[in-house]
């Protein structure tokens, strides 16, 4: 039974063309990243006198330590820490408030429940990009410019996760709730000891997706972090280019670009199953 596809599976030459096509695709995807990596290991003169080399040079440690510890406007290590705090803040914040509100909506009847559900539902899919000016004013009035809370809160205000947990809670068998009630469990005990453990995989899958979403934010940090020490790495790269005609410090900028993609890429590759599940779940 090793060959279930039988006659629709191409053999011989066709088989190799299939691989060839895929390899070309993989190379196309890799090429820009390979170039960025090469540029991050050579010296500035090697880049500004084109064509730059296509194989890595010997300045890896030099360029990366320059980026990490001095950078251009702020050390990249600081920007990475900011990105990490923002990404984790968005991820954890969104998961926590969504879990509790989905629990309230599914497991209780109270006046205005449907209204609340629809109010939350309305926020689905309305990205921060379309309400940037007024949201910026809110943050400015609260004195939250250049702060972590300013970076995190506006991006938590969306209902995708609530909706997801609601869908999942609805599939949890009523017998479990019944049994918990018979045993005298309070609602919160049921939540902690039964519902949360059952939601583990969903939470983990959502964690992966939200972490990437948070790490990769660009427009919002660009607006509210004017202080270089609060920049996140993804938005900080563009700030490293000099204005006007000065020459950009390409090796350091490219090292920063590589550093900006390493954490989310590691998350995707090491948690591939959860990542795929999270993607499919959050788009359902």
């Amino acid at each position: 039974m090793s060959d279930q596809r039988g006659m629709v599976q191409r053999r011989g030459l066709g088989h190799w063309f299939t691989h060839l096509g895929l390899i070309i695709g993989v190379l196309f995807i890799f090429f820009p990243i390979w170039l960025a990596f090469v540029a991050s290991t050579v010296t500035q003169p090697e880049i500004v006198r084109p064509p730059m080399p296509l194989l890595p040079g010997g300045h890896f440690i030099e360029n990366y330590s320059k980026a990490l510890f001095s950078g251009v406007n702020a050390p990249v290590a600081t920007m990475m820490l900011n990105s990490l705090i923002m990404a984790l803040g968005i991820t954890i914040g969104k998961i926590v408030i969504s879990l509790t509100s989905a629990f309230a909506i599914v497991y209780f009847r109270f006046p205005g429940r449907t209204v609340f559900f629809w109010l939350i539902f309305l926020t689905l899919m309305l990205p921060v990009e379309v309400r940037i000016v007024p949201t910026y004013e809110v943050i400015a009035n609260f004195g939250m410019l250049n702060s972590y809370s300013g970076l995190i809160f506006p991006l938590i205000a969306s209902a995708t996760a609530t909706f997801l947990f609601r869908q999942f809670f609805l599939t949890v068998p009523d017998e479990l709730t019944e049994a918990a009630r018979v045993d005298g469990a309070s609602p919160m005990q049921f939540f902690w000891h039964i519902l949360l453990p059952m939601s583990r995989t969903n939470i983990a899958a959502l964690f992966v997706i939200l972490f990437i979403y948070g790490w990769n934010q660009y427009l919002w940090p660009l607006l509210i972090t004017t202080d270089p020490s609060m920049n996140t790495i993804v938005m900080g790269i563009k700030q490293m280019f000099p204005s006007g005609d000065d020459l950009a410090d390409w090796p350091v900028i490219m090292a920063t670009s590589i550093l900006a993609m390493v954490p989310p890429v590691i998350v995707v590759i090491s948690m591939q199953k959860l990542f795929i599940r999270g993607l499919v779940d959050s788009e359902k």
Partner: protein, 293 residues
């Protein structure tokens, strides 16, 4: 769908809902309301007072050739991004689906660019095509082609389209491959026994069965091209040259924050809000259909 077994009380659920309600009210409903409110006012030149103009901002926008041009730019841009990223992804997914072994390996190799931020993708592509140091631009020059996306509008559009599609291929590939693998082998084998060649099988069986996936991706990719590509455009072209790559979201930003024209920017936000609303309705209509599929 409703739960039969529930808990009693209203204090606890109110407390549980509170954090989300407060955050959504402050950071979502209030700003969205403000956008609608501001869209009906024009600030005086000194920013001291505002004057009520009703739908004046909208009237002005719809008559503004720059804004209309931005609509066209957005349509071209999102159309191209959607077609390019879905086309390449479908091609790769069909190839990977033909393999008995190894499709998992290719999937791993192809999906991780999803994790690369659009803004970082923008920097990578801008580096390759940089007029001074870009490797690709240099080799194009060797072939006698003078690449300059800083001046040439079509080249600028081409570059932001490719840079925006590049990372998106992963996402589309993943969904196409899953869609293809969900098609029962027996159906395809039966057609093969009847003598149907690859293209006939693809046209008459695979493509129709794949259409729910295709339609879903169509909507999602348009939404992506509308909103999430800001980073690509800001890093590569900053909307230029001559606004050739100023898509609607970029214009909200540049009018609101660079140009400080708050009324117009708010009116543009409202129009975008409506557009997203329409796209959401389309998506949900479709999802309902898919459930009954």
């Amino acid at each position: 769908m409703e739960k039969r077994v529930i808990f009693k009380g209203w204090m606890l659920p109110a407390l549980l809902l509170l954090p989300q309600i407060v955050i959504t009210a402050i950071f979502f409903f209030y700003p969205a309301g403000q956008a609608i409110w501001q869209s009906m006012f024009v600030p005086d030149p000194f920013g001291l007072k505002t004057q009520f103009v009703g739908l004046g901002n909208f009237e002005y926008l719809l008559g503004d050739p720059y804004y209309r041009a931005s609509f066209v730019t957005t349509a071209i841009f999102s159309g191209l991004v959607t077609v390019v990223s879905m086309g390449v992804a479908l091609y790769l997914a069909i190839l990977a689906d033909r393999l008995i072994k190894g499709s998992g390996t290719y999937r791993t190799l192809l999906i991780w660019p999803y994790a690369v931020a659009p803004a970082v993708a923008g920097v990578l592509w801008m580096f390759m095509f940089n007029t001074r140091v870009g490797v690709v631009a240099w080799y194009l020059g060797l072939l006698g082609y003078d690449w300059n996306h800083v001046l040439d509008e079509a080249e600028a559009m081409g570059l932001v389209v490719v840079a925006s599609s590049w990372g998106r291929i992963s996402y589309n590939f993943l969904f196409f491959l899953a869609g293809l693998q969900a098609i029962p082998r027996s159906v395809i084998e039966a057609a093969a026994i009847d003598g149907a060649k690859f293209w006939t099988r693809f046209r008459t069986i695979v493509w129709p069965l794949l259409s729910p996936t295709t339609f879903f991706l169509l909507v999602v990719n348009v939404v992506y091209a509308f909103f999430e590509t800001f980073g690509v455009i800001h890093t590569i072209t900053a909307g230029g040259p001559q606004q050739a790559t100023t898509i609607l979201v970029y214009k909200v930003y540049s009018d609101g924050f660079v140009g400080q024209d708050l009324g117009s920017s708010a009116a543009q936000s409202v129009i975008l809000l409506l557009l997203v609303g329409i796209l959401t309705v389309i998506q949900f209509k479709f999802i309902e259909r898919r459930v009954h599929y």
